[in-house]
Amino acid sequence: MAELSDIETYLSKCAIGDRDAFAALYSATSAKLFGICLRVLGNRAEAEDALQDVFVKIWHNADRYQVNGLSPMTWLITVARNLAIDKLRARKTARGAGLDEAEELPSAAPGPEALAVAASDRVQIVACMAELEPDKSDAVRRAYLEGETYQELAERYGVPLNTVRTWLRRSLIKLKECLSR
């Protein structure tokens, strides 16, 4: 695995159109990002599609990454996760969700400007998740790794949508308090 600083260098070279740097970035990060796509989507064909979109997006947005001084791995992982979740949701919608439901579907991945992350802010979340009640941390995990919506979480836990929203928000505040300690 390449060092973090290598990845930063590859990205800044991608931003000025360096295809060799793009190839190096691919070698260094594709296995990690493919693993994420595969975990989210659960099948290879879709994960391959997603990974292709991920690297196309990385190439096109590498310049904005540089301007914003983002944490490289957080940005790359977020791009991969968001695109994989988009695909997963598109699949769910295609499988017969009505228009009404589709309107309530969360938006696509945040734009690249929104993905500003400082490396120093990278904090282990796992320990703090353990401080939440199991079903609360489970819900956060499902939202992040499986793209589950409030609606889906409400159905899963058998509670009204507003209830799940309220308790998830409370859990997020707790989580934040722990992460800030």
Binding site: I85, A114, A116, V126
Partner: protein, 230 residues
């Protein structure tokens, strides 16, 4: 509402956005705030950084080999199957020209009776398309030297010219830096490198004084020519 409540609302909103829990309308509104509110940006950034660590538990999986080529093609268009270094340098034209010119060199060399016994003799004419550089090269197997004569194209002030042997897809091999201020040069060639000559292309590049600092061409390729058997 107190300031604390405000902050808590911002924190949860940023988290919901990072998790993808907002509806599209809410997300667009949030992005508007994000673009103007550094504090909100901070909240979001921290969430994104924290949440990505949830992927630490996911094992890397090597994607199938064909995918990289597919991505490259999507981004950069179809490429001829693995363009050679020569093609990438755009010196295929001069190479072909070199083949034709080599016939000329052969005649010249025969007439001046350069030939000695001791193994195959190879020649090349290293030429720029616009004739700004013209160098004839002849490998002398008995001496193990490459005899070079520059007809045109002296180095730029404060620069050197370096001679390279390129074989297929392999990185260019430096054969040496042209001695300063000389029109003729004899470069010693090891037996290993001499064995590669028949399949190779000779090229001359513009380099910093004293030659490439990296061991690979760093400046413009001034000319190239295929090596042919005399």
């Amino acid at each position: 509402m107190t300031d604390d409540d405000d902050t808590e609302d911002e924190i949860t909103l940023a988290a919901e956005y990072a998790l993808g829990l907002l509806t599209s309308g809410e997300a667009v509104a949030f992005e508007d705030v994000l673009s103007v509110d550094p504090e909100m940006r901070d909240h979001y950034a921290q969430w994104a950084a924290s949440l990505t660590t949830l992927t630490d538990e996911i094992d890397p999986v090597e994607p199938p080999a064909h995918l990289q080529a597919q991505i490259t093609e999507t981004l950069f268009g179809p490429v001829e199957a693995k363009p050679s270094l020569l093609a990438r340098l755009g010196i295929f034209g001069p190479v072909l020209g070199g083949l034709v010119a080599a016939v000329l060199v052969l005649v010249v060399l025969s007439q001046t009776n350069f030939l000695k016994d001791g193994g195959p003799t190879y020649v090349a004419e290293i030429a720029a398309e616009d004739a700004s550089l013209l160098v004839t090269a002849r490998f002398d197997p008995t001496e193990g030297t490459l005899q070079m004569s520059r007809e045109a194209g002296t180095p730029l002030a404060g620069r050197s010219q370096e001679l390279w042997l390129i074989v297929g897809e392999n990185p260019p091999i430096s054969l040496g830096v042209w001695p300063d201020g000389q029109a003729q040069a004899a470069l010693a060639i090891s037996a290993d490198v001499a064995a590669l000559l028949p399949d190779g292309v000779l090229a001359i590049s513009d380099e910093p004084l004293g030659g490439s600092p990296t061991g690979q061409p760093t400046g413009a390729i001034l000319g190239a020519g295929a090596v042919t058997l005399l």
